[in-house]
């Protein structure tokens, strides 16, 4: 099946969604996604961030689709033409969606541990406006303790359901879900039952905002002060491939490796994530790279830096050859010592 996104064509398998096709092309035209997660079945279709304009339905039915489509749940048709970033309507819709997502999201990025790797922060930086038009009180919840390892900030939640699906699909008996409806909907565990599942920590990685964060990393550092390294260890429960966030020789936190769309490559177990904070437990492979303009790259050098050798030393000390000729006044000859110093320098 041939699909054209922003003028770039690609052949894809039947059943691929527009978002997946866009990610195969890559670049600017990939729609942002807050709820869709390629590793979780049934995710997507909730946040409406990935709206795109379908200007031509297919070869068989060339009419454009009247409304903007959520690209993460719309399958491609043969000959479909899609406008993502080139469409004025799409950019306008993303701006509005961002504004809606931010209505109830608290402005506590300075406090939040997710800041710097937050999808909502990136989205609002790209598509949002700096001001809010919302004057009503924001939705707030009583803080709730859901265990020793995971910190829940319900105020920050955008109800993407990613964590619920993680709990559904990765762990054998789900202990948390969404309670209540509409404006009162919230992520919670049943009667404050602690999440003690072996893979429950993946909810932290999956969460696009700072609603679920690592309690062992709480307020320890900001993500951009840590140096991320790829590391692995032998684990009988999971693949053991992780990213270590180091500050000096100290492991501040352990996360799964995330790709360019901030989706984990492989899920890791709680033992790897929370219990191994000693560098001796890990085999460090090397620094982890991030997209060029990520704040995490701040002060990080991901390649070997060779010592700089200044080649101009001779010129600095002695000046250029042609200048030296000009300065040396022929009528005032230099003395023997002076001449030696002038030629060879006295350093």
């Amino acid at each position: 099946m041939k699909v054209t996104i922003d003028g770039q064509s690609i052949e894809v398998e039947p059943g691929t969604t527009i978002l997946q096709a866009a990610r195969m092309i890559g670049g600017e035209s990939v729609p942002p996604a807050m709820c869709y997660y390629s590793k979780l079945k049934g995710s997507g279709g909730k946040c409406r961030c990935c709206l795109v304009e379908v200007t031509k339905g297919s070869d068989a039915d060339t009419r454009p689709m009247p409304k903007l489509m959520a690209s993460c749940v719309t399958g491609v048709m043969d000959g479909m033409e899609v406008k993502s970033i080139t469409s004025e309507r799409v950019l306008d819709a993303r701006k509005s969606v961002t504004e809606f997502l931010l209505i109830n999201h608290p402005l506590d990025c300075p406090v939040c541990d997710q800041a710097g790797e937050c999808d909502l922060q990136n989205l609002s930086f790209k598509h949002g406006s700096a001001n809010t038009r919302y004057i009503e009180d924001r939705r707030t919840f009583e803080p709730e303790n859901i265990g020793d390892n995971i910190q829940l900030h319900m105020n920050r939640c955008i109800l993407c359901y990613r964590c619920v699906m993680t709990a559904d699909q990765l762990t054998d008996n789900r202990v948390h879900g969404v309670l209540n409806r509409g404006d009162h909907a919230q992520i919670s565990t049943y009667i404050s039952k602690a999440i003690d599942n072996e893979f429950s920590g993946n909810m932290i990685d999956v969460c696009p905002v700072g609603a679920l964060t690592d309690k062992t990393f709480r307020f320890k550092s900001r993500v951009w002060f840590n140096k991320p390294y790829n590391a692995h260890r032998d684990c009988d429960k999971c693949c053991g491939k992780t990213t270590l966030w180091m500050f000096g020789d100290e492991i501040q936190r352990v996360t799964a490796r995330k790709d360019e769309y901030h989706e984990v490559e492989e899920f890791i177990c709680n033992e790897c994530r929370f219990e191994h904070k000693d560098p001796a437990d890990w085999v460090i492979e090397g620094p982890r790279k991030f997209e060029k303009n990520s704040v995490i790259n701040q002060n990080n050098y991901t390649r070997d830096m060779k010592p700089v050798k200044i080649e101009t030393e001779k010129n600095i000390l002695l000046g250029r050859d042609e200048d030296r000729k000009k300065i040396s006044m022929s009528e005032v000859p230099l003395k023997g010592q002076e001449k030696k110093e002038f030629k060879e320098g006295n350093v």
């Binding site: 300075p110 406090v111 307020f219 320890k220 900001r222 951009w224």
Partner: protein, 181 residues
Amino acid sequence: MAIETISLSGKKKEVSNKKMNFWESLYLIAIFKGLMITIKHLFKRKVTIKYPEQTRSLSPVYRGQHTLMRDDEGRERCTACGLCALSCPAEAITMKAAERKPEEKHLYREEKYAEIYEINMLRCIFCGLCEEACPKQAIYLTKSRTMVKAQTDREDFIYGKDKLVMPLDMAIKNTQNQAAN
């Protein structure tokens, strides 16, 4: 006029090596002229002041020692978000965050606060980028109205929270002034 003879700065003087006459070669007139200039300056207003007993008034945009501000209720504004340290081109700022306990609500404004906040004044170039980056309006270089004093020990230039946080009485005075206005 030729370019060589034009004085663009107005200070160009023609020099000549003409021979001095007898009076000139005694230098008495020249010495007297010089003394007159010295005596004239004795009766002029002094341009120096007795620092540090006296200080000059600072311009409103002057950038001196940093202050970590308190809010109207005397709580520290800083939440240790790290943006000042991130923006600092000289990497002079370091901090360590801590979580506020329920009984410390009157001390710190937000859930998180800076347990340790240090500025190395030897590194600081007083560019004011930290002030610009601060999302909580917590750090200011214009509020302390003091300059960083000279020290003899390098260690003394690392200013901790004891020197940086705005004194409580100053915060109280500010709040009273605001209430009066």
